[in-house]
Symmetry: C2
Subunit: 187 residues, 2 copies
């Protein structure tokens, strides 16, 4: 859901207060224990405006988490496809092990999985990240390298790292690099 | 957790009643809405005995789900590695789309992801299934075929299917077969 707001306008200030509240509450209590009312109270806004603007608490938490991700873990631009993929893969692996990263992952999984949820709700916030990945691959293509399709990167780099995180199977940076080598060899 | 029981003995009858109760309740309400007290009531057993024997409700639901899986979706034995992997991959893809299968997957994810959960709790029930997969690969090795390592099957066949199910990305039987072809080519 996009709401246009002038920089510094009331809508932008409200969003900042809400996002700050979400961030603090998720750190304090874990994402599963944070409700819309808690957020409204902490941010000093009406809970009805939260529902109107973000739909439900899961979608809001996801949007905050993705914005943090985009800001704190920008995609690499090393000048080569192999360099970009290796650096990115290593940062995913180390991120999934960190407290904030595994907290983000749990929120992601919780948001993704409610029965009957709209596919669009689940992936809307993540699309921004996917677009960045697509751009990284496009840069490689522009350089004359032959990047793997985005789907292959999702299926054979992200999915193995996510599945291992889900099932508590170790996935260190060396493993992440092996995934990249396999992906590059496969082209 | 294993509790030895004579066939037909009281322990076995209790287990049957408990498993029947879990199955019915999960169908009626979804796994997230089923608590140990509900199960105890439906099965006609003391809730303390459930905690003693299964630890917590998630582990119990997972054990019931895995037993259903092992019973309803035995691994194939077609006589060739390619045949086995293709048949299995197709059944995973179709299973994840079915109501019962996606219900199982959601229970699996919910059990896997509580913050700070023991790795052993998460994967104990699933180990039975992993052992079956390892056996399927071992049969291939005994026939002189060169099966991929179990880890590769998990990372590049199961993980992509699970990740797509998690994020609502379509994964049909044809896609599952492509994953198998890729895996077999990679050896």
């Amino acid at each position: 859901m996009t709401v246009k707001s002038r920089p510094g306008g009331r809508t932008a200030r409200t969003k900042a207060a809400v996002f700050e509240a979400v961030t603090a509450l998720v750190i304090e209590r874990g994402h599963a224990a944070v409700g819309m009312t808690d957020i409204a109270e902490r941010a000093g806004v009406a809970v009805t405006s939260l529902y109107r603007r973000w739909g439900d608490v899961r979608a809001l938490i996801m949007e905050v988490a993705v914005e943090q991700l985009l800001r704190d873990r920008p995609l690499p631009d090393t000048g080569s496809l192999a360099g970009d993929l290796r650096k990115w893969a290593r940062s995913i692996a180390s991120g999934l092990k960190s407290r904030q990263g595994s907290s983000f992952f749990r929120a992601l999984v919780a948001t993704a999985m409610p029965p009957g949820a709209e596919g669009s709700t689940r992936t809307a916030a993540l699309q921004r990240r996917l677009d960045q990945v697509a751009l990284m691959l496009e840069r490689a293509r522009a350089r004359g390298e032959a990047p793997p399709p985005l789907a292959d990167v999702m299926d054979h780099l992200l999915a193995p790292l996510y599945a291992r995180a889900l099932f508590g199977v170790p996935a260190n940076e060396a493993f992440a690099e092996q995934l990249v080598e396999r992906l590059l060899k496969e082209r």
